[in-house]
């Protein structure tokens, strides 16, 4: 099959300006994008810089943007793309070192900032920790993360908010919060309650979409938000907004944006900062009614909300279990 690779390149030893280079290659049906790029590098242009190693989506090296979205080159089958021209760019939200190689130092530093290691309450037991298999099995979903950075590349929050800790580090954090053996969950969660924390996620789904390992970082972030609120960490505007949202929908069966805003901010000053948006909405006739009305099915909506509230991952913590005398 004939394929054209349109690659965005950049060379710091020349002028460091991005430029496009096209490579036309003929490859077998079963080729992945990585196979094709390696063919280019080995036979056509040895100066093309990229990272790769395992060729089987386990090492996390070959993240890049394919037709605009982050993906692993070794997991992208060319025949599945069903296109003659494939655009290849370095990952986003990270500075380029050369061609498809990006600077990952900020990525790792964010990971280190969450204390990414188990912090048990006491010295370990003589044998293994006795814990339910379901909790271990549940962790597989995040331990699966190969730190490829695809989610970070396409994260919408990060593109405007560089201090956001980001989906990879949060997926890792979730792994400890949910790990029965880790006892630092309260500190971990309260650390994430601040600037750059979980409330800065815009719920854009990008990380879920692009993750090659189905880690679903956004779902983990949402789960941790709920845990934080269950622990009484409700001071953050994000938490207030979540509470107000549930409350309003529970009461009226629909959302009331005016009240949602008023109950999501801290103080009048902050509220005033939204006045411009308010006036513009008023001007365009888009301001929500000041007095909300209750829809007919409101009680049914409330019941749905309650049921959703009760569907949480089961959290089992060894140190708490010991204090409370329960067994796995």
């Amino acid at each position: 099959m004939d394929i054209k690779l349109k690659v965005r390149r950049q060379n710091p030893e020349a002028d460091d300006k991005p430029f496009w280079k096209d490579y036309a290659v003929e490859v077998p049906e079963y080729y992945t994008l990585l196979d094709a790029l390696l063919k280019v590098r080995e036979e056509v242009d040895e100066t093309l810089a990229l990272r790769c190693s395992c060729r089987s989506h386990i090492c996390g090296s070959c993240g890049m943007r394919v037709n605009g979205h982050a993906a692993l080159a070794c997991k992208t089958k060319l025949s599945d793309l069903d296109q003659e021209t494939v655009t290849v760019e370095p990952m986003g939200n990270m500075p380029v070192i050369r061609d498809l190689v990006v600077d990952l130092e900020p990525f790792w530093n964010k990971l280190y900032s969450i204390k990414p290691y188990l912090q048990p309450a006491t010295d370990p037991p003589e044998r293994e920790y006795v814990v339910p298999n379901e909790t271990m099995f549940h962790l597989d979903g995040v331990v699966n993360c190969i730190m490829c950075g695809a989610c970070v590349s396409d994260c919408e929050s990060l593109s405007v908010n560089p201090i956001f800790i980001g989906p990879t580090a949060f997926a890792k954090e979730y792994r400890f919060v949910l790990d029965p053996r880790d006892a630092a969950d309260r500190e971990r969660l309260s650390q994430m309650n601040g600037p750059g924390g979980v409330w800065d996620c815009t719920h854009c789904f990008q990380c879920v979409e692009v993750c090659p390992k189905d880690v679903a970082p956004m779902d983990r972030i949402m789960a941790m938000r709920r845990m934080m609120m269950d622990m009484g960490m409700e001071q953050h505007n994000g938490a207030k907004r979540a509470n107000a949202f549930m409350d309003l929908v529970g009461t009226y069966g629909r959302l009331d944006e005016t009240r949602l805003l008023m109950r999501s901010v801290s103080g009048l000053g902050e509220l005033m900062s939204f006045s411009k948006v308010g006036f513009r909405a008023l001007w365009k006739g888009k301001l929500p009614p000041l007095k909300p009305h209750r829809i007919a099915g409101a009680p049914a909506v409330r019941r749905i909300l309650e049921r959703a509230r009760n569907q949480r991952p089961r959290r089992f913590k060894v140190h708490q279990a010991q204090e409370e005398g329960v067994r796995a």
Binding site: N11, P12, E13, Y30, R41, E42, E43, D45, E46, T47, A49, L50, R51, C52, S53, C54, R55, S56, H57, I58, C59, G60, S61, K75, K77, I97, R98, D99, V101, L104, W108, L111, Y112, K115, P116, Y117, L118, P120, P124, R127, E128, Y129, V130, V131, P132, N133, M136, F137, L139, D140, V143, N144, C145, I146, M147, F176, D179, R181, R327, A328
Partner: protein, 558 residues
């Protein structure tokens, strides 16, 4: 620049990280250098699990005996005893650090069956055991706070009066060469899979550390012992874990027969890897294969078990071969997998060069002898990684130590620049590597004979010639992967020669080394290791008897 530490670990896979953590706990200043970020190391590819005699009714003796038998009596039994005795503690330590090992119904560690083992003693995390272990080891490394030189490529060791004083390394990002002084250096740079084509190994498995140590005067041992894994995917050569057979999958030939009943009537598909690979190759050679493969059949295991315990291989087979293992058998064949041989060390990881230590896949203690048992090498990395780290730290604490000199850096820099400046004579590193890899699989494969091995020698001679003409098309220095591939190729050619030469020397069949012209095991002459010493005018061969503590060689049946 010249940096300075007490202990320097080369390689940040499981063995390297474990060594670094151990060395730091022994109170010295430690750094770790790796050509890729630690979690990219090839340890992440291990799917199946890690062995330990932890269960009720199991014993270290049983684990040790299985390993000795698996090694076809070439493993050194003192080293194997240490491995088996320390295994339970090592696995518990990993669990305490946070590995989410699979549990049984009571919440205790659960096991699975693995090839060559008389008991189910393989502990696992679904089929991502290596990935889980590597992540957790990396977490502990981050916790330790020790210095990491990530994406630095070590090009050579620096010696002074035959003692190691440090390394030279290329910082990929800047393209600059630097020296790192260290009183002890631990080589934990992993395997040499790319010497063979196809292979289950990653592109980074180029045996750099082995070759660098070898050229610095360390001996290599058991280099003829190269493991071919029985279930690698047709086409890409990706590995489908032994865990599949551990869970009960069958191997079938073109006639739908479970052919393992001929060569291993008791253990069937779970015999040792060398035994299974030979049986498969025989089926294929005698015309009972399908398109150069046999079939791995998982269908009877059911969708639920496949999805929960073998999800990764389900994904690989689907993506790379378009086969849904829930519905169809998948074509597999023996593929290059693991070198039992490597840098010779004692049970403290010390090599034959003062100040130089080695551990993990790069080293040969020798635990695995003629054939490694599945799930024993992750164990090898953590146990001998720790032991090497501790020994390196203890030695460093007692030494004043010399430093890497600027002149050493300048000389190496000149050598590298000369490579970059070579004129284009039309020889590409990738092509030379391909010819080497396919040649090695043809001549040093599952079955070998004198004629083929001699032809292989000629081929390698030719390739070494061609190597002197290989040029670097990329003249830049920042992230020059082209330059790297040439440096790696040089390392691989030296190792290929070591494999070919030792395979030609061992005139018997033992473990993974099967000589058609010498089909029997010959304990009288060959219950010994072959060692290689690098010399300018070609490798020098010597021998060492196998250490036997309590298990006298017996006929090996499964």
């Amino acid at each position: 620049m010249i940096y300075k530490h007490d202990v320097l670990v080369v390689g940040a896979g499981l063995a390297g990280m474990r060594a670094a953590i151990a060395a730091q706990q022994h109170g010295v200043d430690v750094a770790i250098v790796s050509k890729v970020y630690p979690v990219r190391s090839h340890s992440n590819a291990a799917q199946g699990g890690i062995n330990a005699a932890l269960g009720e009714g199991d014993s270290w003796e049983s684990h040790a005996y299985d390993t000795v038998k698996g090694s076809d009596y070439l493993g050194d039994q003192d080293a194997i005893e240490i491995l088996a005795k320390e295994a339970p503690q090592a696995v518990l330590e990993l669990e305490h650090w946070g590995v989410n090992f699979s549990r049984d119904e009571t919440g205790h560690l659960g096991t699975r069956n693995f090839g060559g083992a008389s008991q189910a003693r393989t502990y696992f995390v679904a089929d991502i055991t290596g990935q889980a272990l590597l992540q957790i080891m990396f977490e502990q490394l981050v916790r330790s706070g020790l210095k990491m030189y990530n994406e630095w490529f070590v090009t050579s060791l620096v010696l002074s009066e035959n003692r190691v004083v440090g390394v030279l390394a290329l910082d990929m990002r800047s393209g600059q060469l630097h020296g790192i002084t260290a009183k002890s250096v631990v080589i934990a740079s992993g395997g040499l899979g790319r010497v063979f084509e196809p292979s289950t190994n990653a592109l980074i498995c180029t045996g750099d550390g082995m070759a660098i140590a070898y050229r610095a005067g360390a001996q290599l041992m058991d280099m003829e012992m190269m493991q071919y894994h029985p279930t690698t995917l047709k086409g890409s050569g990706a590995l489908l874990t032994e865990g599949a057979r551990g869970e009960g999958a069958y191997l079938l030939n073109a006639n739908g027969e479970r052919f393992m009943k001929k060569s291993a009537p008791n253990k069937m598909e779970l015999a040792s890897r060398d035994v299974v690979s030979r049986a498969e190759q025989t089926e294929i050679d005698e015309g009972r294969g399908i398109d150069g493969c046999v079939l791995l059949d998982c269908r009877h295991l059911g969708r639920d078990l496949i999805m929960t315990k073998l999800g990764q291989i389900h994904e690989l087979a689907l993506e790379l071969a378009g086969v849904d293992i829930v519905k169809e058998p998948v074509p597999v064949r023996p593929g290059f997998h693991y070198p039992m041989g490597g840098i010779k060390t004692d049970v403290f990881g010390e090599t034959t060069v003062p100040g130089l230590y080695a551990a993990g896949e790069a080293a040969c203690v020798s635990i695995h002898g003629g054939n490694r048992l599945g799930a024993n090498s992750l164990l090898d990395t953590v146990i001998y990684g720790r032991r090497a780290g501790e020994a390196a730290a203890d030695a460093a604490a007692k030494l004043a130590g010399e430093e890497v000199r600027e002149t050493a850096v300048r000389d190496e820099e000149r050598r590298i620049q000369a490579l970059v400046d070579r004129p284009d004579r039309g020889q590409f590193a990738a092509k030379v590597r391909w010819d080497m890899g396919t040649g090695m699989v043809t001549h040093c494969g599952v079955f070998r004979d004198q004629k083929g091995l001699e032809a292989c020698g000629d081929l390698l001679h030719d390739l070494k010639d061609r190597f002197t003409q290989v040029h670097v098309g990329d003249k830049g220095r920042v992230f020059n992967t082209n330059l790297l591939s040439v440096l790696e190729l040089r390392n691989m050619l030296d190792l290929a020669e070591a494999v070919q030469l030792t395979a030609l020397t061992r005139t018997e069949s033992r473990g993974a080394h099967t000589r058609i012209d010498y089909p029997e095991r010959d304990d009288e002459h060959w219950l010994r290791h072959i060692l290689l010493q690098y010399r300018e005018d070609g490798p020098e061969i010597s021998y060492r008897p196998v250490t036997i503590t309590q298990w006298e060689p017996q006929v090996r049946t499964y």
